[in-house]
Amino acid sequence: MRHPTSDLTALVDGALPPERAEAVRRHLAACAGCAAEERRLRGAVALLAALAPAPEPSPFFAARLEARLRAEGTRRAGWLARLVALRWRLAVPAAALAAAALVTTASIRQARGRERAMAEQLELLEDYEAVASLGDVEAAEDVQVIADLDALEREGRP
């Protein structure tokens, strides 16, 4: 067995699994160096355990905490109030901004609709002009006939 140096503190603390603890103890019985190190660590642990206990909290400990909690509550309430006030102050400009954005969006949609309708008409008029140039169209009513013929053509019918 290699020297179980890193297990010695855990052995002193009773934190090794039973089988491992037994193996380390057997090693200590045969290895003077490790046994001396284990005694040194055990001594340090005993000295730390012998330190004077920590002092009791002072009589005003609880009262001071209460005061700090109250102060913290007041501070948080102050922040909350300021936050609410700030929200109201920002609410009017924010609403105006939102309304402006809505109007702009509606205008853009409307303009796009008009452009799309014009484009469709333009395409139809181009077809009409092309056919009219051949002398086959005599009246503006024939535009609809051309449109119907175009639709049939797109569907694959003559």
Partner: protein, 198 residues
Amino acid sequence: MAPDPDAALMLAFQQGDEAAFRTLFERNARAMVSFCHHFVRDAARAEELAQDVFLKLHQARGRYRQTARFKTFLYRIASNHCLNELRRGEYASRSAAPRDGEPSQDLDALPSSAATPEETARGAALERAVRRLLARLPESQRAALVLARFEGLSYEEVAQVLETTVPAVKSLVHRATVAAAEALAPFQAAPPQQEVLP
């Protein structure tokens, strides 16, 4: 898991029961002052830190989940807070270890008046040596040593508090104890032969 009364109190506090927080405070105040004292070895500073811990606990009510024992949750807040405080330059200068021969600032930590003058002097010297030891230990070793050695937490509990593994805690506690053995060698006239459990 065994019933955890503190966890039940914390859950009640989460639901708005302020009296539950008061009870939690009463049940854990002394332990927190003791823990912080072991960390900083200064009675006045330990009280300040312990109060900070309870303030943080009060503010952290929404974050509490009953996935571990309440003690683990509380010690995690306390460890993080103490380590953060130690990292602050302002506190480091205040907590500088006194030189040999200087009186300890923490009079509460001295042995009682029933001790002989020699015992009193030895206790004060040991206190200073431990304070110097803690001041120079890396933070993770310091936290592990305080939790395992002074607070009596098992290696598993220390691992939960420090959010690490049990083998890592075993290594941290071992290295810190080796450092303690070196620092306290002058006090080790007659090493005990009996096993000491944490």
